[in-house]
């Protein structure tokens, strides 16, 4: 088993109190699995991806454990995490467009990066060249500055750099949202290719675009207001979701082929709760059409079918 996260809680410290952005998240990720994490803004998906590799200054680890390939990942200790970052856990950040050093040629930047981790650039260079070719970048890209590349090329270059040491886990945070549709497809397919060639063992793809993860992911985890709502295989989430939030979210997406004149889609009324002082019980309660008395208690996230977990009283 590759990744096991138990009851992870990460809050943001603010002057007015703790924002409970990630509130008790438990899941598993198998070897070779691409898991899509989907949700609206503020649901905690970026907090989840960040807390698996590096907590920033405002983020506070509360409790929970993370295990990668049997070894405990010290997510709460910044110094100890250095032994895992880049070699075991790697990330393609949300703003990969600006992730590369602007005043270094890309090749030199990579050599400095490898040196800092104790690897020799020259021995890795042939493999680097092979991967650059694999993602369809020109050979001379190493002699260029980042500014000379287009958005999609930068994104693929960062993908190659992030996975150069064959990490066990790759976190891809909104990697395609700033790209045009045709480059988006190329980058998404490169992610799958890297998994198929076992450059990375498993992958967490964080996105707000469910139709994109439907194309590439094996499983999808839907988050709402800092908690998990539903996790199942891609087909199940898209074709027969059980959680009311997932159902409403999927039915509110306009698709190619669906026209207003033929079929009017509806949104979800209301807005997500404030996480500074979240309501007790099910956090989707106020917007949920199925809500009943029991929803004031918090629903457990339980497995209802093999590989299909839901947090909803109506389903349990």
């Amino acid at each position: 088993m590759s990744l096991r996260v138990e009851n992870l809680r990460v809050y943001y410290r603010t002057l007015r109190g703790n924002v409970q952005a990630l509130d008790g998240v438990t899941f598993r990720l198998e070897d070779g699995e691409i898991m899509g994490v989907a949700g609206e803004s503020g649901c905690g998906k970026t907090t989840l991806s960040k807390s698996l590799i590096r907590l920033d200054g405002r983020m506070q680890y509360i409790e929970g454990s993370v295990e990668l390939d049997g070894a405990r990942l010290p997510v709460d200790k910044q110094e100890e995490m250095n032994n895992f970052r880049y070699t075991e856990v790697s990330i393609i950040p949300q703003y990969a467009m600006s992730a590369m050093m602007p005043i270094r040629r890309i090749g030199r930047m990579i050599s400095e990066l490898l040196q800092s981790r104790g690897y020799d650039y020259q021995t890795i260079l042939p493999e680097l060249r092979r991967r650059i070719e694999l993602v369809g970048l020109p050979e001379n890209v190493l002699d260029r500055y980042p500014i000379e590349l287009s958005g999609g090329m930068k994104q693929r270059m960062v993908l190659v750099i992030s996975t150069l040491l064959n990490p066990s886990l790759l976190i891809a945070d909104e990697v395609t949202s700033a790209l045009d549709v045709s480059t988006q497809k190329a980058v998404a397919e490169a992610l799958v290719e890297f998994r198929d060639r076992e450059f990375v063992k498993s992958m967490i793809v964080v996105t707000h675009d469910i139709s994109l993860v439907y194309q590439i992911a094996d499983t999808i985890m839907v988050m709402y207001a800092g908690k998990l709502a539903e996790k199942a295989s891609t087909e199940v989430i898209v074709e027969s979701p059980l959680h009311p939030y997932t159902q409403l979210l999927i039915s509110s997406l306009p698709e190619v082929g669906v026209r207003y004149a033929d079929k009017q889609l509806g949104g979800i009324p209301g807005s997500p709760p404030q996480l500074l002082n979240p309501p007790k019980g099910c956090r989707f309660r106020d917007r949920c059409p199925l809500a009943f008395d029991k929803c004031v208690e918090e629903p457990p996230f339980v497995e209802v079918a093999p590989g299909h977990s839901v947090a909803c009283w109506k389903v349990n």
Partner: protein, 325 residues
């Protein structure tokens, strides 16, 4: 009502403005009452430039933009104010459309000061309430608040309400829902469809084919400033002819349909069909560029109401036209 007649836009770029960049080349279409025309394209396709030219935020380099018969690209200040009574725009980022240090409802009072100075305060407040209800907002929830206290969807709807206070005929909606969350964006989209049913003409600028397809009556697909394909939305999406339209449609991630399946349906594997372009033969250069002869029609009518800049199937038709010219 609004008619764009072979418009071009050239920007001066470079340190001394000594280079030229053509953002829009020879684009013509019109928007009638009760019609939604979506401009679909990737970044750099000129879709926003067209919207800005309609709003007179950019000048037109060549060609005419006619509104009810008057060329608006040359009108003076007094007439421009009257034009803005009828044509308004809403843009992508709701948070930067408002001044953060003033309350959000200030936009309504600015309209009053500029266009309706003689309307009484109490009557104006009633009109604001009416406009807010038209965009399905509860006045008590949104009035007297600062922009940061409201959600993106609420702010975007308030901007539409602001436009409705003027007696507008055309609304330019430039990516107005791309920054909204999935669960709220469909409501704003349905709102636009309601306004369309009431006779408003909407120019819907988007990069998202699914949104354009959902709401629009007609579609214009742009590439590098050229309209490569346009026509009734149902026809363009059901039967795309231009190779670029096919590639674009094949790249959109869809729910319920994998990329490989879409590619098979569009026959994207047939590279000869995808890459073949009649203009390549007749006018060497980049695919989708209009012919150099200004009298030549830039697009051919492939079927009634369905225009294509270049396509294998439209080839005979195009050759007839070329022979006639």
């Amino acid at each position: 009502m609004l008619k764009l007649d072979r418009i071009w836009k050239t920007y001066k770029v470079g340190a001394f403005g000594n280079k030229e960049l053509t953002a829009v080349r020879d684009v013509s279409f019109d928007v009638g009452p009760g019609e939604v025309v979506s401009l679909i394209g990737e970044s750099g396709s000129g879709k926003t430039t067209i919207g800005r030219m309609v709003l007179r935020l950019n000048s037109v380099s060549r060609g005419k933009i006619l509104f009810d018969g008057t060329d608006i690209s040359t009108i003076g200040r007094g007439q421009l104010k009257e034009y803005y009574r009828k044509v308004q725009g809403v843009f992508q980022d709701p948070f930067s459309s408002y001044n953060p240090i003033f309350k959000a409802d200030r936009v309504f009072y600015m309209i009053k000061d500029q266009y309706f100075p003689r309307v009484k305060g109490s009557e104006w407040a009633e009109r604001i309430d009416g406009a807010l209800r038209d965009v399905r907002l509860d006045p008590a929830q949104v009035l007297n608040k600062f922009p940061h206290q409201l959600s993106g969807g609420q702010l975007q709807r308030m901007l539409i309400a602001r436009a409705l206070l003027l007696d507008i005929k055309i609304l330019v909606a430039d990516e107005i829902i791309s920054m909204l969350d999935a669960s709220t964006r469909i409501d704003v989209l349905n709102l636009l469809a309601d306004l369309k049913a009431r006779g408003l003409g909407i120019l819907f600028v988007t990069h998202d084919l699914a949104l354009g397809n959902y709401i629009s009556t007609r579609t214009v697909i742009l590439r590098k400033g050229v309209a490569v394909e346009m026509g009734e939305t149902a026809k363009v999406f059901a039967d795309p002819q231009h190779p670029y339209s096919k590639v674009l449609l094949g790249s959109v991630p869809q729910l319920h349909k994998k990329w490989s399946q879409v590619a098979a349906e569009l026959k994207l594997d047939d590279t000869a069909a995808v890459e073949h372009c009649v203009y390549h033969d007749k006018f060497p250069g980049e695919c989708g560029q209009p012919p150099t002869d200004p009298e030549q029609p830039p697009v051919v009518e492939y079927q009634p109401g369905h225009f294509v800049a270049c396509a294998k199937e439209g080839r005979e038709h195009l050759e007839d036209l070329l022979a006639a010219a």
